[in-house]
Assembly symmetry: C2
Homo-oligomer: 281 residues x 2
């Protein structure tokens, strides 16, 4: 497992590092970012929070714009931010040339359809290969949380719901809660998983939450002025499914907030506290 | 004084607004950003902190990457971030095509030389036209601070030192402290102010600090791992000049930090507290 360090920058007493490796799962070269709080250098075994970004993002957006490092440094949490899709010249992209599917928009599922299945296995990458690499290179407490935004919020919910025991905490910002009934999800799943919508259900948080055996409490923040709320995100569907299943979900509707990183920055501290309560306990 | 609002986004209970206007001083269309903390909507009269960004930046970088809004919302401070140069197709740019002079690099001086003097009057814009516009549109307490990064740190120091009484607080991150003896400053001043280096001295903080009649305490943070430290920034020159003049300057050298917004984000809270102590007292 060869990993190269691309850069290392000090922030809030810790280090923001960008690393590069060849992913076996995705069959391509990948870059990811990790924030190591100051306690890491003192040998403390810290929990790891995985952050999945939204459409068009890379490993950089969250690290540059969320302000997550301030409280992560105080609480002692490692933050890992992968890229949002496989990358490279031989990785197929949206045939329509859109920004909502393909490169920068891998939707955190494991594709079953050609030509996508050769590379688009972001779920397996995020849940297995990347944590193995992190655990080998950055000794930690073994406790894991996962969160994300929009497409990455969907990814975080699905990763937690499909893999009981793998994570000890989960949250999301403005997640795509019901992708099988939203244009973004339908387009991506149609390519990656094929034309039969029944095969999509395994990747829809509003379906999975009703089948969950483990009831990890979910915290979701959603801006009420989010331009994608009604057509793409549908938190009310997830909320109703959680209620039917008696699943502990806290959905906070935030008046005036939109879909941007300004919204994420405002509430990231609450999410870190939510994760820390479960991961550091 | 016609001003158009381009966008308004909620963050930390306040509003990040981008505004557009025709600047008489710069003879072009300009965009700037303002953060209005939640207390503004309640009618409180708040102080205003002006932020001057560095080379290649616009009004956006600081608002997206510094995390300034969190503590500004708590303290009740309005933040204003102008662009870094005049803009537009008829504004002349670096004849060498560089990123260190011209568009995105106006150096916050008032040019005396053709063709620059028609537009490159960023000092006058930042010190006079923009505050007049802010005061007219956003009623405030009338107390002003100024800060900035790199080229903008130079700008903040020079604005405060040249205009006693205009600001009640000043600070800088990794400022160009002695531009008349640094390649960036020499190139820009040579164009904007002409070939005679004697005319440059009025725009050099290390010179101005020895002549200052008002002794506004200056806080400077400087990363020790900053790639531009030795050749371009020269804080030791400013520090020695301040000592000779018995001028109150606190220069904090920060081990391991570079020139990036990760460095700014780490120490922005300290600077806000420095300004708040003077502006809210």
């Amino acid at each position: 497992m060869k990993v190269d360090e691309l850069s290392s920058q000090k922030i809030f007493g810790g280090w923001h590092r960008r690393l590069h490796h060849r992913s076996e799962t995705l069959a391509c070269e990948m870059v990811f970012a990790v924030y190591l709080p100051p306690q890491f250098d003192c040998g403390e075994k810290l929990p790891v929070l995985y952050w999945l970004s939204g459409l068009t993002c890379t490993d950089e957006n969250f690290m540059q714009k969320s302000g997550v490092q301030r409280l992560a440094a105080e609480l002692g949490m490692i933050i890992v931010a992968p890229d949002t899709s496989p990358r490279g010249d031989d990785v197929p992209d949206d045939p329509e040339g859109g920004w909502d599917f393909g490169l920068g928009a891998g939707f955190y599922v494991d594709a079953t359809q050609s030509p996508w299945s050769a590379h688009y296995r972001m779920h397996d990458y995020v849940v297995n290969e990347l944590p193995d690499l992190i655990d080998a290179r950055f000794p930690n407490s073994g406790r894991r949380g996962i969160s994300g935004h929009s497409m990455g919020g969907h990814g975080a919910l699905v990763c937690a719901l499909r893999n009981p025991g793998r994570y000890q905490s989960v949250s999301a910002f403005a997640p795509i809660c019901h992708p099988t009934h939203a244009p973004w999800g339908q387009k991506a799943f149609g390519h990656l998983l094929g034309a039969d919508p029944r095969t999509w259900l395994d990747w829809d948080a509003s379906v999975l939450i009703g089948l969950a055996q483990e009831h990890l409490p979910i915290l979701i923040d959603q801006g009420e002025a989010d331009q994608f709320l009604a057509a793409q995100l549908k938190p009310e569907t997830l909320s109703m499914a959680a209620e039917r299943a008696n699943y502990p979900l806290t959905l906070r509707m935030q008046p005036g907030y939109d879909h941007s990183y300004y919204f994420i920055a405002t509430f990231i501290d609450d999410h870190l506290q939510h994760h820390a309560a479960a991961l550091k306990g």
